[in-house]
Symmetry: C2
Subunit: 318 residues, 2 copies
């Protein structure tokens, strides 16, 4: 049985789908602009639990995951479609009202317009397909395939917070529980992530990134996608990783490292490019975490001065 | 509890979504062209049954429903995304291989390129979100809202065949059963419908249609959408309805009428426009079935010379 990744590789190679495999598809729009489009499925009890979140946050997150894909290409989101499969009990509960409120609040903050979608009954479990369109200056979408040996590896945003929030939820925390500020912050990182569109736009305007991806499956997995697409390797310094502050306050260094590397859903951005230029640009919340090497598809983590090879271990669907 | 239609009306009016409500959303592309985009959900055991179809036909139909939406706007499809929720048993069965073959065979016949999508596990039941992009000359998308009293009402394609096929499946017919040519034909109408892109393109080129929709929920429902959007009524002559030939051979006149009006999934096109011009254009498989009236939102059916008012009774999800 093929994994999801192997299956997609097989389908794309069989049908020669050269636009599949980055965070978004790129389609020609006009002389100045390319169109971006991305689709993300969220399935109840796999990608979210209704007892762990509430309607507004779920609406927010459903859009945020796709906005993050637009950000990862250096794009600007413009419009969206939303397709929902809704079990009768969810329909009757009135959840969709809050869901659309949360979706729309985030959409409005980035001037994203809802232009279509579909609503269907579902027999078992809710599911959401979030489709977002965006734009990028023609020929300037930031791909996974442009990293070069010697480029710095950078993270925009903090890592591990979403995984920390998930750990709290798995341990019985509820959004309505009494909890510390740090715990609240981690839950929000998991349930209401913010896409890094601002940094993405700065990188685009200044043409600073040679490759980029968003951290949806964990740094180890997502950096491995860049390495595979660019035919390079990477060396990461553990002490440089920008752990979410609230995470460091609540978990051990080992747990933080594990969550940052393999936790996923942070919707931070990982990008590569010229170290000096990027450091000189003083981008907000951007940290250099390592560099690109010529060791094709090998990712090394330097911890306490000792290098070890890390396999991509992020979330896999099958 | 709101019906799906009421819910969409509420969401669209609350958020001022003036692009929602036709078969596709229309987005500006460039000086010559508008972009169309549509999304259709197909949910196992609501929209299809794996024991009634097989993988290639299911792949074909998943794309056909969305191509039909592009046709309904007078557009030309260009590219597509496909998001699949797949239960483990379906994954293990190898169904997806055939599904993609069927999808791709139809896509290739209209030069539609697969550019993205998502694949996720599903805990219960398979679901498919089919997203298709298309193009139309700028400002010339055929909307539901352009019908005028005095326009003729036309159908491109035949009616009732898909409902006839569904009836056979409900009565225990299997695709591998021994059956007559007519029975085979009806099953194929249900399981492997063909979108009316050819006629749609002729209507577009010659600018003959004032309003158009595809018959996804049954003629009564879909014509009611045109009447509502155009603020008109319609008068339909029962004897003019183009029943699928195989349907007339196997079912009574009453059953044929019921299936044509309320059966759905024929993916024929209903359109309105100047009678003389349209009849003079000799369009293939196009039949005049009635005319548009000024009786806002009232649809009359003339049967044996006697008019009766028909309510929209097509398929509703909730």
């Amino acid at each position: 049985v093929l994994s999801e990744f192997e299956f997609i590789t097989k389908v794309t190679s069989k049908y020669g789908l050269d636009r599949v495999g980055d965070d978004c598809a790129i389609l020609p729009k006009n002389a100045e602009t390319d169109l971006l489009i991305t689709s993300d499925l969220l399935v109840e009890n796999l990608d979210f639990r209704l007892e762990w979140t509430e309607s507004r946050r779920l609406g927010h997150k459903s859009l945020a995951v796709s906005l993050s894909d637009i950000a990862a290409m250096g794009g600007r989101p413009t419009s969206a479609l939303l397709s929902l499969g809704v079990p009768e009990a969810v329909w009757d509960s009135g959840l969709l009202e809050g869901f659309y409120e949360g979706w729309h609040a985030l959409a409005a903050s980035f001037a994203v317009e809802l232009v279509g979608g579909d609503v269907s009954r579902s027999q078992n479990g809710m599911f959401i397909d979030s489709i977002v369109l965006g734009e990028v200056p023609r020929g300037r979408a930031i791909l996974r395939s442009g990293a070069k040996p010697g480029d710095g590896v950078f993270v925009a945003g903090a890592l591990g917070g979403a995984a920390g929030g998930l750990t709290l939820l798995e341990n019985g925390f509820k959004i309505e529980s009494e909890m510390s500020e740090n715990e609240t912050k981690l839950l929000e990182k998991q349930l209401k992530p913010m896409p890094q569109l601002h940094v993405a736009n700065l990188l685009q305007e200044q043409q600073l990134a040679t490759a980029m991806i968003d951290v949806s499956d964990g740094l180890s997995s997502d950096l491995a996608h860049i390495c595979r697409a660019s035919n390079v390797g990477a060396r990461i310094i553990a002490d440089r990783l920008p752990f979410e502050t609230a995470l460091s306050a609540l978990f051990s260094r080992e747990d933080c490292l594990e969550m940052a590397l393999n936790g996923g859903e942070d919707f931070a951005l990982v990008f590569t490019g010229d170290e000096e230029k990027i450091l000189a640009a003083y981008l907000p919340e951007v940290t250099q975490v390592g560099e690109i090497t010529a060791n094709t598809e090998i990712i090394e983590l330097i911890m306490d001065g000792v290098p070890r090879r890390i396999p991509p271990q992020g979330y896999r669907h099958f």
